[in-house]
Symmetry: C2
Subunit: 241 residues, 2 copies
Amino acid sequence: MTDHDGGSPEISADSFDAARATRELLAVLAYAELTASFRLAEDASGAPTLADKAALGAMAVAEFGHFEKLSGRLNELGADLDAETGPFVKALDEWHAQTPPKDWLESLVKAYVGDGIAADFYREVAGGLDEPTRDLVMEVLADTGHADFAVEHVRAAIEAEPTVAGRLALWARRLVGEALAQAQRVAADHPALAMLVVGGQASGSGQQSGQSEGDLAEITRLFARLTDRHAERMKRLGLST
Amino acid sequence: MTDHDGGSPEISADSFDAARATRELLAVLAYAELTASFRLAEDASGAPTLADKAALGAMAVAEFGHFEKLSGRLNELGADLDAETGPFVKALDEWHAQTPPKDWLESLVKAYVGDGIAADFYREVAGGLDEPTRDLVMEVLADTGHADFAVEHVRAAIEAEPTVAGRLALWARRLVGEALAQAQRVAADHPALAMLVVGGQASGSGQQSGQSEGDLAEITRLFARLTDRHAERMKRLGLST
């Protein structure tokens, strides 16, 4: 967010490129769903039982379906999938490269906590989109059943061996730190997308919030909401935040 | 194949357990399709362009669908998926552990050549199954588009850099060797399934071939057919056998 003169609205309806922000959100989500699908397939491949392999495999398939819907929508908008996703590939690949799960439990926590916080964030941002796009985003962000699966397996593992809880709690903290670092980099490189973060909240009436002070308060509230929901997920897993 | 007294039919309608052989074939195929789906997702993840990632990802999804159909059929037959696939997990996991592709081209050749020879073999065996099962097997073995994808990309790579052809031809030879070694082990551990191999050829009338000499001739002809089709695939790739 650039620093314009104090009182006047920083983002006018003209300067805020809604079409561009929409394309960018669809693109980052499309690549995120595609890589999530591949990671789930990898987790499925390493799962201890055939039932777990089949369950995670089905979730990987569902995520791939989300990727196809998002790329289909980008196509409808006349956007080039490769060109649009290109700028987000590095950030998402780096997120995965920086956070390789050491075992099956870490991969479950990563998918639940990492994808969870990302999904919450995208949902918040989607408030600023046109209705069909918003509906599509909400649809592809709907849980594919992974949450219950992760909670069930992680809780069972902690019950069997209580000492793993400390290691997994530390792991989750590292995941959140890395996710925020990548999100910050993406926001800095994509001002239109970043505008959605502040604009999205107040956009029920189509109005774009402009003042820097309002932006800051908005972002603070957004982070408080994301943190709350993250804490709920940790609690469900039986982990301390 | 056990050694009974010379002239009398070795496999009677009673001693050949068709239901068991059917369950075993469905089980080995189900696990093969599941692992093929995971390997394709891995290849997709490492593919050089987004279009390639999307294309291979869609094939991984199709293979997972095949797994679901096969496990659904096992369910209908009242079989327990875990118990049925259990005996084949080691052989298929070992096949993949013994043949890790070093790069994207090797993974394409592995999927095309390895899955190709396996599919031909399963198709031959399926001749001895009841009609609904045979139809299902033929359906899940239908090419998901990977063949053309592999041929196109491997040929383009050889055109760009002719020296890779020698390396890939050697790789394909190793794949066939490992596949045959695993197939032999599976056949030795599963006599009912092995019976399908010899019985399947002559089973249009429900008759089971029994003489050892007839078996041997049958197996020789089967291998000749498999080798011919393998050579056709290598030719399509632009590789020498």
